[in-house]
Structure formats: C-alpha cells, structure tokens
Assembly symmetry: C2
Homo-oligomer: 187 residues x 2
Amino acid sequence: MQKLFQYFRKFNPLSKEAENAIAEICSIVTIKRNKDLQPIGHTCKTIYFINKGVARIYYFKDGIDITESFSFENSIIARVESLFTGKPSRKAIQILEDAEVVAINANQLFKLYDTFPEIERLFRKIFEVAYVETVNRIEGMQFHSAEERYNALLNEAPNVLMRVPLKYVASYLGITQVSLSRIRAQH
Amino acid sequence: MQKLFQYFRKFNPLSKEAENAIAEICSIVTIKRNKDLQPIGHTCKTIYFINKGVARIYYFKDGIDITESFSFENSIIARVESLFTGKPSRKAIQILEDAEVVAINANQLFKLYDTFPEIERLFRKIFEVAYVETVNRIEGMQFHSAEERYNALLNEAPNVLMRVPLKYVASYLGITQVSLSRIRAQH
DNA sequence: CTATTCTTTTAACATAAGATAAAAAATCAG
DNA sequence: CTGATTTTTTATCTTATGTTAAAAGAATAG
C-alpha cells in the first residue's frame, strides 16, 4: 500500500483520514503470468495499481488478439470505457509477468468522492493525465509509418520492448507481427 | 448560456449558485469561418462550448496540416494536452463554420473547484466521457483499413462528412486526400 | 535434459495506400 | 456574373505493409 500512496502524492496529497478510507476499500491480489485479471465481457468495477509485474489490456477483433495498452509497476490500470459507462467491457486485463496488484473497489471509491472531495480530485487528476496520454497516442498513430511508430516506442518506452513478447507489441503498434519482425531486421 | 447549462445537466445538475458562479467566468465569442479561435503555440487557458458552428483542432506534422478532431454544436472543445499540463500547445483550434461559442476561463474555473465540489464533479464527468471517446477512437485506428474507417465515420458521424471539407476529413482518418477520394469513388 | 510448444524470423507474393501531377468541379471575391 | 482560387477527383507509378507458409530459435513442462 505504501507505493500506492506515494503514487497518489504525485497527483494530490491526501489527509491521513482519506488515506485510511482508501485503504479500507483496497485488497492485495497476487496473480500469475498469462492469467486474466479481468475477463472479457465483465463490467469493470475495480481500479488496479501495479506493485509488481506487467499487464496489458487486450481484446479480439475478427478473432485476432489486439493489445490496447501495457502497464508496468507504479501505474494504474483500468478499462475506462467500462468503468466510466457502467457497460460490460469487450476487453480483458491479462498479466504478462507474475504480479502483485492493489485492487481498489470502484463503487466504494465513487462513494468516497462524496465525503472526501480530495479523493475525487485525486482521481480526476490521475485520469486527466491518462486522458492526455491517450490523446498524444492518437497523434502518434495518425500519420506515422510503422517504422516510425516502432522507433518512437523504442525511445519513449524501451521497457515495453524489453519485457513484453513481440507478438503483443505488434498489434499495439497497429501492425502485424511479420511487419514488426521485418522492421526490426533492418535495424 | 442556456444551452450550456442544459448540456451540463446531462452530466451533473448544478445548484443555482454554482450556475451563477460559472456564468461569471464566461464570455460569448462570435468568430468567422477560417479564423483560428486559439493559435498554435499558445497555452490553453479556455474551455469552449459551441453554441453554433463547427470547429476543429489541427496541427502541422512535417509541414502537413493534420486534423485531430472536429466539434459541433452543443459540445465542448479544448486542447486538453495543454489545458491539463499547463504547457503550450502545438495545436490550434480553427473555426470551420461561422460560430458562436461560450468561452470559459479555465484558471477561474479551477478555482471554483475549491468552493463548488459539484463543479469539479461536473467537469470530471465531462472529461471522463471525452476520455472514453478517445480510447474508443484508438480502437478504431488500430486495425481498420482506410475504407473501414471511412465507413465507420459515415455511420457514426455523417455530419462530419456533410459539413466539413474532405481535405480535413482525410487527415482525421489518417490517410491522404487522394486516398479518401479514391475510397469514395468506389461507393 | 529432452521433447513439445510457443515465439520470432525469413521468404515470396499480393494489395492497399502514398506521391506526384493534372484535370475537373466547386466556391468565392469583386 | 465572371475570373480566380480552392477543393475534389482521376490517372500513373511506387512502396510499405498484409498474407500465407515454413524455418529457426527460445521457453517450458515433465
């Protein structure tokens, strides 16, 4: 839990009471590689913080496995298109390296917003930053060749290429695995 | 201003005091077609609500004009990657049809968050929905051909194709204008 | 350690989309 | 209304990426 509160502090420092209230609605989950933390079709009611390990959000399009995003230690992961709409998600969260995560009960968290405006503010800021990252990612996808997107990933998030199977990276970049391999071959 | 408050009500109904406080920090701006509402390089300190007209966010990549998004009546437009980070934006907001917009002073708005948690909640919800739309757009770009993306736009937002020059639509879809024209030719 | 399975690379061919140029059509200013 | 400008389409050629298949390499379970 300490890592989580440190992470929170970067966005909006909380009072002890608020921290305790959050601690009440959290649980620690350990989960093995290749397991789904949340399955496809389930409505997202949990926000996760990764203490240790790697995870990805993925879905199937025409039977093909597509990675939407990766998450590493000290970051939040949630299927927001379900969390914020209350609808079931067509996406799943899968663990790529044995993980320990903090599971935050979202419904109880949203109730805390009423008593602790500072908690609402904290999560507002967390998701504002995530929103900005997503907007920037659209820019990266709009007019870059596959090779440029690969090089950008190599520069901005080399940990992805070091810790994640390339077959998952390919769909994340919006290309086939064969294309990715070809790009890597020509340095 | 009435349209704005109606729009707000869909997200989070406000008290009369909160509405009045927001009205205080708003101004009405009318602006002509082809004008920039906000130029490139300026830090975003205003959130706009469109009463009438059409606008787009655009930027230049390697000298080429690229449209990030379109906005129509009864919606919010802001360059969030600047608004939420305080950094200058490499993007501009351009008016595509003579417009009337409500300009909300963002710094004053953020101050209102301290006295009116209901206002903070309102904008939290507004941007959560915008965040979800952006996540869904990534999905649309990840593994669809140009033709599929065109057809999706035709179904989901035909007003874009009806009211916006095609040269702007092409870059929005992540393709060249020539490609877009070719796709349209084959029905 | 070995066999099996999973992952990555390589090869050959097909195709969608880019680049450039020019024609046609539409829009706009005077 | 007319000429000038902007936007859209069409044509030709090139190239990047997809598709399929198979080989090579790495990881894993027993």
